[in-house]
Subunit: 190 residues, 2 copies
């Protein structure tokens, strides 16, 4: 199972978050981030095109986990159960260390219009990946889009709960609970 290890990317993210907190997002340069992480600028650019993408480096991995999770669900799984498998695959990849810096990351994103737009795109991309994977399974396009939307919403809801200071539940459990709540809401709606 792929995990977020304290590798170069993780070090660059922590360095970036520290610098953004100290001097603001706008004022921070890629050179400063690399230096704070104890890495060269060349290493920085091997991992990220710019400082913004440091904050969103989980996106490709999440999309892949979601896609594979949906693909590998049992053949007779309903669309929502297949989406749930995608959500579970994403939720299971989160490691405890992330809980420390996630609130700080969220605050940086929330304070900047450009980053909020990027975050909306990330969310749409994850939902889109799940929808595509459901269509590959033969699910009707509209049903796939809605199942994927419920899945993405469950994932984000669970993540917010997971990083809350009082939380002690594992991320996969929170994701399952969130999806159960959303299933009920969808039933109430229809």
């Amino acid at each position: 199972m792929a995990r977020w290890e304290p590798d170069a990317r993780g070090r660059l993210l922590r360095a970036a978050l520290d610098l953004f907190a100290e001097q603001g997002y706008e004022r921070t340069t890629t050179a400063q981030i690399a230096s704070r992480a104890g890495l060269t600028k060349t290493t920085f650019f091997r991992h990220f095109p710019d400082k913004r993408e440091v904050l969103f480096y989980g996106q490709p991995m999440l999309m892949e986990l979601a896609t594979n999770g949906v693909r590998d669900a049992p053949a007779d799984a309903t669309p929502l159960d297949a989406a749930a498998a995608g959500v579970d695959a994403m939720a299971s990849a989160h490691v405890e260390g992330q809980r420390e810096y996630a609130p700080q990351l969220g605050a940086v994103v929330a304070a900047n219009d450009e980053l909020r737009e990027r975050a909306a795109f990330k969310r749409a991309s994850i939902a889109g990946a799940m929808a595509d994977a459901l269509v590959v399974r033969g699910v009707d396009e509209r049903v796939a889009a809605l199942a994927a939307e419920l899945g993405a919403r469950a994932y984000y809801t669970a993540f917010d709960r997971w990083i809350a200071p009082a939380n002690t539940e594992p991320m996969p459990d929170l994701a399952r609970t969130a999806l159960t709540e959303l299933r009920a809401a969808a039933a109430a709606l229809a």
Copy 2:
């Protein structure tokens, strides 16, 4: 009913789209857009903070229309019927002239990562506005979020069909059809 009139904003949008097509988005300046529209740079900046926002100027109006549509739905409307009223308010504001330049606008956005992110944010903002308006009506937060998501999806689906060359149906009819299809998909899911 508010409508998109061929005002300064509309002129700036058409000028911008022409210039983006001729020389690309990146190479076009706000001064060029103003000049092509026969307006001053000062007028440009009275309407838009930058060239990018020219492409998204409908967002505040759509959010307001959706919010008011949901608010003014009958007191006994279901969450989905109230969302439908918001969608209808947005759909009814579209005027024929938009169909001419909408495909060109869509192509510019699709070709540029930054603009696609901005478009994802616009979509999320419209859905968010509808969800907020539903919560004000006393709808449960999760049900509101899902009803708003169906509404936003119906609106965008209808818009894509409306601007298709072969289409002759009015936008509000297309929006109603799209929402009916999505209701069926939601029922199939739940």
